[in-house]
Symmetry: C2
Subunit: 138 residues, 2 copies
């Protein structure tokens, strides 16, 4: 049973993104990326950090989330007014949005076919988001 190095991956991840591996960035990266695909709000992540006794302010949560988005470690998903979700799955994909629970679920991009994309009148397509909104049965 070798003593594992829990932060090794996170450190590399941050270094590769040219972000200094500070205490809080490492801890947040661990929370975000060591549990499979997740969709978290800033508040949720802050609560998790507090629960895990990681001293971190909400301001740092926001700073870090935005830095991770800029570094393409996260994707910001907007489905509801006044609240952003951050998605650890940065591959091309889409979402179910469950209106009752406010939860998101990934849909692999090969499960939906979006064909015949029109060209925008100017500029370049950055991304195509498909959101399937799901409500209670009938």
């Amino acid at each position: 049973m070798s003593n594992h190095r829990p932060f090794a991956n996170a450190i590399e991840l941050l270094r590769a993104s040219k972000l200094r591996p500070t205490r809080q960035r490492l801890a947040l990266a661990k929370l975000l990326f060591e549990k499979g695909d997740r969709h978290v709000t800033a508040e949720q992540l802050h609560d998790e950090a507090v629960a895990a006794s990681i001293p971190v302010s909400l301001a740092t949560i926001y700073n870090t989330l935005h830095q991770f988005v800029a570094a393409r470690l996260l994707r910001e998903v907007v489905v509801n007014p006044g609240r952003s979700y951050f998605d650890t799955n940065v591959a091309d994909h889409h979402h179910f949005f469950f209106e009752e629970s406010g939860k998101l679920m990934d849909i692999a991009s090969d499960r939906i076919e979006v064909t015949n994309l029109p060209q925008p009148p100017h500029g370049a397509i950055r991304r195509v988001d498909v959101v399937i909104r799901v409500g209670p049965k009938s």
Copy 2:
């Protein structure tokens, strides 16, 4: 040249939606629906109303927009954190979102084909939103 009745359509629209045709609801319906398809924010609509000398508070703008959405006279579109757009086109369709200008543009639903829609694990599909995000040319 018969003297036209500018509010006739709006009155019928509101009556059909079981909304009392009050001064402000009539005026806002006129602003919203007599200029073709539009995408407005609450603030924009309020500014327009003020510019047109319609006495209406921001609270009423919000109340009215939400009532219109509930009555399916409008559709709420969320593409940006912290700001809702209200779309007068309630037919099934999609959007270009121009990130620089913050403007939306309709895409008729027959211009894009979304096929192979997966079934949600529970509940019923309420709506499928496709947003094509457009940035400056590379």
